[in-house]
Subunit: 139 residues, 2 copies
Amino acid sequence: MRLSTARRLVLEALFAADGPVSAPQLAQVLQVDATSVYRNLELLERHGLVRHVHLGHGAGLWVLPGRQELEYLYCERCAKVTQVAADDLDSIREQIRQRFGYRVRFTHFALIGLCDQCAGSSASRVSSYRKLTGAVRGR
Amino acid sequence: MRLSTARRLVLEALFAADGPVSAPQLAQVLQVDATSVYRNLELLERHGLVRHVHLGHGAGLWVLPGRQELEYLYCERCAKVTQVAADDLDSIREQIRQRFGYRVRFTHFALIGLCDQCAGSSASRVSSYRKLTGAVRGR
DNA sequence: ATACTTGCAAATGATTTGCCAGTGT
DNA sequence: ACACTGGCAAATCATTTGCAAGTAT
């Protein structure tokens, strides 16, 4: 796989990004045709250089996989996103496996719900940000 | 809210269905314009008569809310769906709330992963079926 | 030459919006 | 009359596919 221009731009953009970015966003910012962005993301994903996540509704979001696998928590009201290391969810994952027979992961589809602020209670202290595509209106 | 023809057909179809059904499916089966199906589903949802779930990729799926709230587990490989009563997940939900500050639910977005068969191990004994829209090819 | 890449147009699929004509009260 | 309803065309959004011209090796 050659490191073509569009390909390099996509990687650089993801590297510079502060969080997951959608293909349409990349295409617009980089001034590269969306088709090319999609094709490159797919190819890069096959090579394990990028991956994508789904945070609730809307476009898939792309990221560079870090050294440690990250899983996502997403607030469907305020669009806050929290990333946690896979290890932190192992115990929960294991309980789910034992009780229901599914090996779940929140790397491809986030864990979705309401953050404490949006529900009204305590706090947390993990790295969080907001989904770029904006918060969600009442469903 | 009047119980118009299209509205009644949608409700009857959901009642007869064995699992969540998409709007496009309803439109096709009932021979009712998709627009009408969407509008009715949305209206019915606002009145709490129906609700919808997202099982991985693809269209949203609609169901009649039962007496007890159901949450979904979905296998991204074989499309197997398992429904569990909300209570059964309360302990897990609570752990997630304490550790990460999110009140998650799997009623709107399913808990996604691989079922034991697709991963290779033990078993479970809950009501399960397959997503109508077919299984997923290797990502 | 030959394989890899890209842009552009067009298609797909789910979902939404505008509009207008028909129906129920 | 007047609000509610359904169908149809068209628009939107994310994503995919076909194709033809351009580029690297």
